[in-house]
Structure formats: C-alpha cells, structure tokens
C-alpha cells in the first residue's frame, strides 16, 4: 500500500515538474503570438508592413493597368506586341538581365569590409526598397552574394577591391535615411570595421545588366496551380 502511495506521489511530482519546465521554456522562448510582442516591435512592424502594403498596392495598380492595355489591344496586333515588349523590359530589368537608369543613392566604400558586412549592406538597401543594385559594375541579382575569395571579396566570380562603389536605384530620401539613421548599418560598420562609407544621392545612376548566367539549369519551370 505504502509503495503504491509513494509511486503515485512520485508520479505527481514528476508531472508537476514537467509542466513547470514547459512553462519555463515557453516563457523564455521568442514571442510568436503577435499580441505578445513588445510595443516598440509592434510599432516597427506596423511601419514596415504599411510600407510594404503600399508597394503592393502600387504593383497591383500597375498590373491592372497592363491588363487594361491588353484588353484594349484585343490581345492581337501591334498594340499587344508593344504591351508584351514593355512587360519583357520590366521583367528583364527586375531580374537583373537588363540595365536600369534612374535616381537613388551611391555609396563610396573604402576599407576592410568582410563578406558578411557587404552582404548586410546589400540587404539593407533591399530592405529600403532599392529597385536595382550594383557593386561597381557587378549587378546584384537574387543569386549574387559576396564571398571571401583567395585575395579579396568576390561577387559572381568578380573580385571586389577594398575601395568600391555601391549604386542603388530607389527613393533617394528613403535610401539615405535607411543607411544613415542613428544605429543604422553605416554607423554599425564604421564602428566595428575599419571602413568609411560616404553616401550621396544622385538622379543619374546607371545600374548595368548582370554578366552572370542566371538562367536555371537544375530548376525547371513548374506549372502554377
């Protein structure tokens, strides 16, 4: 009888410890429920999501305009050809297969940036809604990443020296603010890495087409559902 009581007691204790451990682990884990995020984080999320939604609305409006043009053209003849040409220009430029001309931000970089730092700079420009980016004459496609080569950084097989220029087409004010904000990427890199980064806005930037072959060979087009 006493052995049974002891077993039951031990079971109860083990069960309670298990429950408490789970509760402890949950309380130290990242908050995955939106409502449990800190207020500051929620505010940042609202800003970011609002900006991204605004971009999506613009993109949707443009797409609907393309559709309207096709319908007007009756999907045949010279007009439809011109709409498709315009679509091709846009898609090749978006993917990095064609050059883009416009306004944006130029970063003059000098110093010992490692691959992580250069990739972080590129990511920050993308996050600030850069529409096309080049490092010197190397167009940054989705597959372009900086890696440490034998003697220097390398992107798409091309060496990048210790002094280089990053050109980004996009909202000049938005890009500049994102790069130069207190505690932002430039401040961080200049603090932790021996580098100087000078940002200037420009209304005459030419981002070239990629010279890399980015046509997939292992990945095949799948039929969309």
């Amino acid at each position: 009888m006493s052995a049974r009581i002891a077993q039951l007691s031990l079971f109860a204790v083990a069960l309670l410890i298990g429950i408490l451990l789970v509760a402890q682990l949950r309380s130290q884990a990242r908050p995955t429920e939106i409502s449990s995020l800190p207020a500051q984080e929620l505010s940042q999320l609202i800003d970011t999501l609002s900006e991204r939604n605004r971009e999506l609305r613009t993109g949707l409006a443009d797409l609907r305009e393309t559709l309207r043009e096709y319908r007007v053209a009756g999907s045949q003849g010279q007009s439809a050809l011109e709409v498709s040409r315009e679509d091709l220009r846009r898609i090749t430029a978006f993917g990095g297969l064609a050059a883009v001309d416009g306004q944006g931000l130029v970063l003059e970089v000098e110093g010992q940036l490692d691959a992580i730092a250069l990739n972080d700079l590129i990511n920050e420009l993308r996050n600030a809604a850069a529409e096309a980016i080049a490092v010197d004459d190397i167009r940054i496609t989705h597959r372009s990443v900086a890696v440490q080569g034998p003697t220097s950084l390398v992107i798409d097989g091309v060496e990048v020296g210790t002094q280089f220029t990053i050109s980004a087409i996009g909202d000049p004010d938005g890009l500049l603010n994102a790069m130069e904000r207190p505690g932002g990427i430039i401040a961080q890199l200049e603090q932790f890495i021996q580098a100087t980064i000078v940002a200037r806005q420009s209304d005459d930037i030419l981002v070239p087409a990629t010279e890399a072959d980015i046509q997939p060979t292992a990945a095949e087009a799948a039929i969309a559902e």
Binding site: L21, S35, T92, E131
Partner: protein, 254 residues
C-alpha cells in the same frame, strides 16, 4: 519518570517520505503560482496596452494577404492573355518565349527540382542564468548566413517558408521577428533550395555556413536539420516588380 517516557518517538519511514514529498510539492506549488501569476499579469498588460497595436498588425497582414492574392490573380491573367496571343502571331510567340525565360530566371515562375531542405528553430535548452536569451533563438543573421551559403554553393532558386527570394528580397529583423519579402515569419523556419547535385555537401562546408551559424547551432543548441531532397516545388515570387525610381534600359526584339 522512566527513560522510555521522555524519548521522542522516531518518525516512521512512511512519515519521512510524506514530509519530503509534501515539501517538494510546496516548493513546486510556490513556483507554479509565481509562474501563473506572471502569466496572468502579462496577459492583462497585453490586453490593455498592446492589443490596439497588435490588432493593427493583424489588419495589415490580412490586407497584405488579400493584396498578394489579387496580384497573383492579375499576374495569372496577364500570362493567360500572353499565352492566348502566342497562337495568333509569330512575333508574339517569340516575344512570349523570351518572357517565359525571363520570368524563370527572375524567380517569377514556380520551379521544381532536386535540392536541399533546411529547417532551423529556436533552442530547446533552458537559458543558463546570466546568459542572453537572444543567443538561444534563431536570429535574422542565421537565416542570412544560410541563404548566402546556399546561393554561394550553387542554389538556383530558394524559398523561406513559401517566400521565394528574388533580386529585391530582403531578410529583415524587427526585434525577434523576421520579415522576408513582405511576410512576417516565425520559427521553425523551413528553407528549400533547388540546385545541382551535391548542393547539401557544398552548402554545409561553405564558410558562410560554418563561419557563424553552424557554431551557434552547436553552442546554443539551435534546432537544425538539413537533407538532400528530390521533387521540391518552389512557388513564384508574389509582389511588385515595377520600377518607380528607374527606367529599364533594354532593347527588346522582335
């Protein structure tokens, strides 16, 4: 008075067991109550101060979902029109073949193939006193390192939790939250990459992987698994591909 009359009775082994377990239960109960109270307090604070902000986030996410569905639908309609027109003109057929190739290269077409699946999630270990809890969760840098290593190892297409990576994609951290393209993602993160044979070996031996994230997996116990897989299917990118601040410079023929 006899000696036996003043000697205190020794507790039986059963009573000792009972006292020990009662003590343990008391401590557990105290800790449990503290845990429960802190949860209740946090819940109350959440409902009053943060709920308005959280509701806004959820509304924006719902709006975004609708926008993405509308964009995908409009894109599909554009492609249907282009495919229909192909049969009516040789010039259009040639042009639309170029369009298909460009879409495939840019990540605007769903793709299939063999490659690698990587899953990474927060550590299950209890954070030791004095250590930073952030070390035990997947950080945005971990995802960037994995993606960098995959691209550098020859991946041709990558998605994170259904978000296809394209030239404009950023992997962005907002506190402990991760945004990829326009989507708010949470762990476990599943990364799928299509690429030539040997992608897994190249990826796991690439310095972009071994240099930082592999060490965090080992030191902090981040949950990690990777496998070579056939028959992967990656979705197309859904989002805007328009230029607002630049003009494409391209000669298009025919």
């Amino acid at each position: 008075m006899s000696l036996s009359a003043v000697r205190r009775p020794r507790p039986s082994p059963r009573a000792t067991w009972g006292i020990t377990i009662a003590g343990a239960l008391g401590i557990i109960g105290f800790v449990g109550a503290a845990q429960w109270n802190s949860s209740v307090e946090r819940q109350a604070f959440t409902s009053s101060a943060q709920q308005v902000l959280a509701d806004q986030v959820l509304e924006l996410e719902a709006e975004q979902q609708q926008l993405r569905e509308d964009i995908a639908e409009a894109e599909a309609e554009v492609r249907r029109i282009q495919e229909d027109a192909t049969s009516s003109s040789a010039a259009l057929a040639a042009l639309n073949a170029q369009l298909e190739a460009a879409r495939l290269a840019a990540g605007l077409t769903p793709v299939s193939g063999s490659g690698v699946v990587v899953e990474i999630s927060d550590s299950n270990r209890i954070v030791p006193p004095g250590e930073n809890p952030a070390s035990y969760i997947v950080l945005v840098d971990d995802l960037r390192d994995i993606v960098t290593a995959l691209w550098a190892s020859g991946a041709e297409a990558i998605e994170i939790d259904g978000e296809r990576l394209v030239a404009s994609s950023s992997i962005y951290g907002v506190g402990a939250s991760v945004l990829v393209n326009t989507s708010f993602l949470s762990p476990p993160f599943r990364i799928e990459a299509v690429g030539a044979d040997g992608l897994l070996d190249r990826f796991q031996s690439h310095p972009a992987f071994t240099g930082r994230v592999a060490q965090r997996i080992e030191f902090f116990g981040l949950e990690y698994a990777a496998a070579a897989t056939d028959g992967l299917e990656l979705p197309a990118f859904v989002g805007t591909t328009r230029f607002r601040w630049g003009v494409p410079v391209a000669e298009v023929t025919p």
